[in-house]
């Protein structure tokens, strides 16, 4: 980090003398970091734009770690490549003969420990937050099947809704007989719908083999284990459609069981619930009549 700041300080010294150069340098450093980091948001080669508190924490910690790694990288390989360039036999450099130094070795054991503590502190807070599935506004059970997801709304608004969610990408696209759509392999027939700003607890299990329920933008991934339940939670910040995939090898069609979460405003969600419950009432009554 200080290398970046140091570079900027040199520039700021040149521009405005060294009055307040420290704060200028710090400001410039922070804004440069912010600039690079904000450029990363929305890049299709980075973690998706975070849509929940947890996803935001993860995103920010990842960026900080990248900067720390970059600084260590420049430090270590700066020294190594300086040595590679200068200390060569072809330049007539004569080898020294030192082979240990307790002081140096103690120092470079302690420094990595300190860096790790800096990394571990925010991570610990996030782990504790991720694990807190208490007092949710609603609870949904997700069940992994070979190869689709089943959803049951267990508690909260929409209680009793239940459906399966399967890949809706046509076979012809997979077999390259038709052009592939934008959401190729990331689209389903029935989306999981949840209201915005509500704490949703997801209970996850599986029917046959291991699966994993993963929605990157919401920052959750949890294995689905047959015969056991696990839980996790999210509160979506904004309405939208967030896509993920099964993340645990589950056999032949592992690549073909996406997860699509649609986050709605409260009013729309209520309408959706009514429509679903109406539809299921029709189904039930038809079922009774058939008997």
């Amino acid at each position: 980090m200080f290398l970046v700041v140091f570079g900027i300080r040199k520039i700021s010294n040149h521009v405005g003398g060294n009055m307040r150069s420290k704060s200028v340098a710090a400001l410039a450093g922070v804004s440069a970091l912010a600039l690079y980091s904000s450029m990363a948001i929305g890049s299709k080669y980075n973690l998706p734009e975070p849509q929940s508190v947890i996803a935001k924490d993860i995103y920010d910690q990842h960026i900080v770690l990248l900067w720390i790694c970059l600084v260590i990288f420049i430090g270590v390989f700066g020294v190594m490549f300086y040595s590679i360039l200068k200390h060569r036999k072809s330049l007539g450099y004569k080898a020294a003969n030192f082979h240990h130094s307790t002081a140096v070795e103690v120092v470079w054991t302690i420094i990595p420990c300190l860096i790790l503590i800096v990394m571990a502190y925010p991570a610990t807070k996030t782990v504790i937050a991720m694990k807190d599935t208490s007092s949710p506004d609603m609870t949904i059970k997700a069940t992994g099947y070979q190869w689709m997801w089943g959803y049951d709304y267990l508690q909260g608004e929409g209680e009793g809704i239940s459906f399966f969610s399967k890949l809706s990408t046509p076979r012809v696209q997979i077999e390259n007989k038709a052009p592939k759509g934008e959401n190729y392999l990331l689209e389903v027939d029935n989306r999981v719908v949840v209201p915005v700003g509500k704490k949703v607890r997801v209970i996850i299990t599986a029917n046959d083999v291991l699966h994993a329920w993963w929605v990157p933008a919401l920052g959750i991934k949890q294995d689905a284990i047959p015969g056991f339940i696990r839980d996790t939670w999210f509160t979506a910040d904004k309405p939208g459609i967030y896509r993920g995939q099964c993340a645990e090898l589950c056999g032949k069609d592992h690549g073909y069981m996406p997860i699509v979460v649609e986050v709605m405003e409260a009013g729309e969600y209520t309408k959706w619930v009514a429509a679903q419950q109406g539809a299921s009432a029709v189904k039930t009554s038809m079922h009774v009549e058939n008997k």
Binding site: F73, H99, I225, C246
Partner: protein, 528 residues
């Protein structure tokens, strides 16, 4: 052996051995066995590499083109198993066979006949693994980690894999016991433990790890076998078992296994760097302690492979902290290598290039390792291409590059011939370029959300997958250059002097000619 004695060749007793194929089948000579290990592992490397080419060819474009999903899963599974158990591990045992006796001044390995047996188990296991592609239902398709219940579903291919793993495990345990016994009992007079070359130290520690964890692997595959065929339900919740228990047992083997594949690399690099820097290894004793600490820590971090499997908060925190702690001894090693190079008088022959390439890329793999250790970030990147990138940085540019460094470094001692330096450098630079082309982009694929082990993907991943595939094909072809360099070195390389590397200080260079005689150190050297 009576028949052999009956042959009147007029040679001394020591030179009696059958010729032709029987020489190789009956040999108890550590050099012959080392050679067989190395050729076997290279053959397996080509088989596993061919599978990787198949995987990358399918992933070249979105959509299904070459491999149907089921066959794709078989390819990824067998690629992993063959590379780990068939290529990397036997290659290091091959190095141990050749080098450990020569570096400690011993005439041979302690258990010469067991040594033969532990090698000849390998082709049997390899045959089982490869033939599983041709049985009904095909090869195992549950990933190299073969998690149940998926692996309980598979066909005969899974059973063949289980038997292959059993055999490979038996071979590894015998090999390790042999290495431990040789190192502890057969060192030349004067060579105390703290005077042993680093390569010998790292193998001693690795061998202890192997003896510790291979029985655990054997146990877990046996439980899987009885679940499949004998009515137990260790991993079936309906019968009172737990699928996650498999993961705990598997990774209790699996994580030390990672270090089994990297510690001997550390050893090779710790021999090569001082030689070509013409300067002693910096911090020898801290290197020994760092290696031991890594080995011990590696036994208490296994559940970091399972952060998404669900465990108590304190469990996640414990495994996160323990995993992060491994970065400390690893960093110490990197600093020590850098300090060894510092103010040395360096030259850059192929072994040195591969060692520097090793450090450079292994550090990148270490960074992504620390990032994966952070539980919240791991929740995002677990089971994505980010993890694939991470472990190929430590296994390919880690273990494999160190193996290449070692092969170029010691081939003059093994064959009495020099390799072609120009071609060796080409091999390094092409490997370096194509390796990064293949795997660096996979970090971004993983971050962007591409899961691993899928045969087909969304269009947003298309461009980087194509780059990665092109890199993989280039990397694969480059390794044929290595084969050519080695064969032409053996057949027609320039004659090597006893010590082609003027900075080398270990016994095989200072006391033995090139090539090393078939029986070396029949009288132990005195180490001062």
């Amino acid at each position: 052996m009576a028949a052999v004695h009956g042959d009147a060749h007029g040679h001394g007793h020591d030179d009696h051995h059958p010729s032709g194929i029987m020489r190789w089948i009956t040999t108890t000579n550590h050099k012959d066995i080392g050679t067989m290990y190395l050729w076997f592992s290279f053959a397996m490397f080509l088989v596993g590499g061919t599978l990787a080419m198949g995987i990358r060819a399918e992933l070249y474009q979105p959509g299904i083109q070459i491999l149907q999903p089921e066959l794709f899963n078989q390819f990824t599974t067998l690629h992993g198993l063959i590379m780990v158990f068939g290529a990397i591990m036997p290659a290091f045992v091959g190095f141990a066979n050749w080098q450990v006796p020569m570096m400690i001044g011993a005439p041979d390995m302690a258990f010469a006949r067991m040594n033969n047996w532990s090698f000849w188990l390998l082709p049997v296991a390899a045959t089982l693994l490869i033939s599983s592609f041709f049985v009904p239902g095909g090869a195992a398709a549950g990933g190299w980690t073969f998690y149940p219940p998926l692996s309980t579903q598979g066909g005969l291919g899974v059973d063949l894999m289980i038997f292959a793993v059993h055999i490979l495990g038996a071979s590894s345990i015998m090999g390790s016991i042999n290495i431990i016994t040789t190192i502890l009992n057969m060192r030349a007079p004067g060579m105390t433990l703290m005077k042993m070359p680093m390569f010998v130290w790292t193998w001693l520690i690795t061998a202890y790890l192997l003896v510790l964890v291979m029985p655990v692997l054997a146990g877990v595959v046996t439980m899987l076998l009885t679940d499949r065929h004998f009515g137990t339900s260790f991993f079936n919740a309906a019968g009172g078992g737990d699928p996650v228990m498999f993961q705990h047992i598997f990774w209790f083997f699996g994580h030390p296994e990672v270090y089994i594949m990297i510690l001997p690399s550390f050893g090779i690099v710790s021999e090569v760097i001082p030689t070509f820097s013409r300067k002693p290894l910096f911090g020898y004793s801290s290197m020994v302690y760092a290696t031991a600490s890594i080995a011990i820590l590696s036994c208490v971090v296994w559940a970091h492979h399972m952060f998404t499997a669900g465990m108590p908060t304190v469990g996640q925190l414990f495994f996160m902290y323990a995993t992060m702690l491994i970065a400390v001894p690893t960093a110490v090693k990197v600093f020590n290598w850098t300090a060894t190079m510092w103010r040395g008088s360096m030259t850059f022959e192929t072994p040195m290039l591969f060692s520097i390439g090793f450090i450079f890329l292994f550090v990148i793999g270490g960074f992504s390792g620390v990032i994966c250790a952070i539980v919240p970030i791991d929740i995002q990147v677990q089971d994505t291409y980010y993890v694939i990138a991470h472990f190929h940085y430590v296994l390919v540019s880690g273990s494999l590059f160190a193996l290449f460094a070692g092969a170029y470094y010691w081939i003059p001692k093994w064959t009495g011939h020099m390799y072609n330096e120009t071609l060796g450098k080409w091999h390094f630079w092409l490997s370096m370029f194509f390796f990064n082309l293949t795997f660096f982009v996979q970090h971004f694929l993983g971050l962007a959300g591409m899961p691993r082990r899928i045969p087909d993907y969304n269009l947003q991943f298309a461009d980087f997958n194509m780059i990665s595939s092109i890199g993989a094909f280039g990397f694969g072809l480059t390794q044929l250059l290595f084969l050519y360099i080695m064969i032409s070195c053996i057949r027609s390389g320039e004659k090597a002097p006893q010590k082609p590397w003027d900075g080398a200080t270990t016994l095989e260079w200072t006391h033995l000619p090139c090539p090393a005689p078939y029986h070396s150190f029949e009288k132990p050297p005195i180490v001062k």
